[in-house]
Symmetry: C3
Subunit: 310 residues, 3 copies
């Protein structure tokens, strides 16, 4: 088995490693459902060092650690450590925090911060999102969810819908899907937030079939996965009208559900606004809350692998 | 024994259920005093989902959970989940958080939020205060404290003093007292913050004797419980003079203590300003810090009942 | 052995007590390195009551408690308890919090607050810094670090460098060093932030040799410990030019290292800016991250001593 030292970016995983991680995640599902819980990480201490708040991600990691019997030191105000006023470097902060804990889960506002932290720390570092950069555990849980829901990754057809220009989620997902065989990706997005050329070129170079489409209904009828995302208002600034146009363009509602295949699923990284209508929730093909739950299993698996190994 | 699913409002409890909860709370007193602690909730995870900060209430719940061997996921910034910018619904947040925990303790700024959360969640929800609405665990600990201090609930005489118009505490307490026999309630408050008619009418309909009085000394000499409350400045806005008049009007000091019966007690939901003078604290009839402590036992009891039953 | 009730100020410790605490801290080093951890504080609950944020100090205490099997109630927003609006006294807050926990670690913005808290609480209180007042656990870890690094305290030569006027750290350290024999202290600081007369007079009265010097190189070549501190910009207000002059004046860099003796060490309470250059970090005589780690052992020792004794 491979040795996992840090979790920094989606690119560090190949399909064999992903398969191994997913196998551990499956074990974690069983542990979490066992009311006695597990004590496999008893005595271990995780520090959540969040330079910007992300309650959802933080709770998911902290739940994962505690479900395995470990303990947590929390900070959601890590900027205080290194405020402009005091001016401590990230490296100095990491050296201090690693003296108090056994693993660091870090969220930062700067791309590349996680890599710098991992280069400094002698204990494992997990990147819980670094600005516009990476959010590798989200990418892992997305692929894991597809595997769990559809039962395979080779040969799947995935529609990526919504804001494809700004979402690091869909970019990482496209990247990881390229590791599987015969994958077909559809991009369905308003013109202002189209998938950028770097990913398209990358997919082409990896012989992953992709096409852009403006017809969500037709695409949905073909796909195994409709991966919807939120149009992020904060990206539009003053251009409110453009935002309103974009956000209303591709909604996953019961009309979309009706054309989807029986085994297909709707996914979403959450939070959602109205890009998936609430009446979709009751359909068994609405997989987004199961997807959020899978984040717990993936994070349990990573914590176990980083702290005690296979 | 009854089945407790959620704790949403004082109205859900009748005197039999209250008696059962109080019996469990008594056991909790013993557990907390046992230095070995209890592990009855070991492996359980409580999420404190606070949309507005209330450090006192949060610490009380978290202490309760940990005294029973359980673990806690904390958030005091739950508004981030559902910020106007991102716009996630409470229901979606609850569906995510219930994937990470076994019970949710929620504080919200909107009346009715706890009921909505409980309707969504498949795990138990405890209302730790929802805006101007309910704060049922405070009401329970108040009644429990009267029972512990006076030794009975039927036949007691209670003075509710201070801000009776705005305090949800006194309103809930009046409501719960109506479930007992031969209770007499005195309302002693400045004119601007008198008890509202809905509660008076309710008490009348339940044949609970009540009267308004302007003479705190006389009332105090009659009562088993003098329940003092804080005049909340924030309710007066620009009307500073009115506030100053109201807050100075009924003070519990040694003159009041001197007329009180030997077995009677002074209660207060805390925090207090100067509506109870500090020299009262040393008198054994000052029950307000014991009352705060009872909040711990009541919350331990509720967590145990909701998670593992009787 | 002595009985430790609270930790309020450096002055409460004499050299015998310090030696005993340091002996326990040494045991704590072994416990922390043992992967099984310790359960000596299992069942105990520590409340961190922080009226101003200090993530570094808080994490150090919380790590200490959890490394010993204890549990933690956290608040970094304790001001909410006693906000001007609500106006609760510190004493009332302490009485409530002691009902929920077994020991209180308090950080406050007012000098003397810790003493008031300890006078109120029936459970132990540790002062984690009260405004311009005391920060006794920092003073203890500093002396402990000198003892660990140099192997003795009697007869040592210590240079205190940087902001000696405002830093409570160097003032407490000078105070504690006076308890040892044949100590020599050098003060090296810009004119605007010189050591104040009260400490100089105190040292003289205790027959501790001291001198002021403007020559860091010469002093560094003589000393066992070069204790560098940060020039705090916030102390200079509008006087930016004065600040810039002061902060650049005495830098610990490789030139300083080169004249230092082989057994000597550089210390710093952290965070640092550029008063120690980054290239010093790799030298084994750079002791400041080990010093931060010693804070963990000292706090573990104090928690053990206060809660379960020797």
């Amino acid at each position: 088995m491979f040795q996992l030292d840090d979790v920094i970016e989606a690119q560090q995983f190949d399909r064999e490693i992903l398969a191994d991680i997913f196998e551990v995640a499956r074990e974690m599902e069983k542990i979490e459902k066992n009311s006695l819980g597990s004590q496999v990480l008893k005595g271990y201490l995780m520090a959540t060092l969040f330079y910007e708040p992300s309650t959802r991600t933080r709770l998911s990691f902290e739940s994962a650690m505690k479900r395995l019997g470990g303990e947590v030191l929390t900070t959601e105000n890590a900027r205080e450590f290194s405020s402009a006023a005091k001016g401590e470097t990230l490296e100095d902060t990491i050296r201090t925090v690693e003296g108090y804990s056994d693993i660091i889960v870090m969220r930062h506002f700067e791309s590349g911060a996680a890599k710098r932290a991992a280069a400094t720390a002698e204990i494992p570092v997990i990147n819980a999102g670094d600005g516009p950069g990476q959010h590798p555990t989200q990418a892992l849980l997305d692929v894991y969810t597809i595997d769990r829901e559809i039962g395979k990754l080779d040969g799947i057809k995935v529609a990526l819908v919504g804001d494809l220009a700004n979402g690091r989620t869909v970019r990482s997902l496209a990247y990881l899907l390229s590791k599987y065989q015969d994958v077909k990706i559809y991009f369905v997005s308003p013109d202002v937030v189209k998938m950028k050329d770097d990913i398209k070129d990358y997919l082409t170079s990896k012989r992953v079939a992709w096409e852009e489409s403006a017809d969500l209904i037709e695409v949905a009828s073909e796909c195994d996965v409709v991966y919807q995302t939120r149009i992020q208002r904060e990206r539009f600034g003053e251009r409110i009208k453009l935002y309103e146009e974009a956000r209303g363009k591709y909604i996953v509602d019961c009309d979309v559900l009706n054309v989807m295949q029986k085994h297909a699923v709707v996914m979403h990284p959450l939070p959602r606004l109205d890009e998936i209508t609430v009446d979709v929730d009751a359909d068994p093909r609405a997989a987004y809350f199961r997807q959020a739950k899978n984040g717990l299993y993936i994070r349990m698996a990573l914590l176990k692998l980083l702290l005690v190994g296979w």
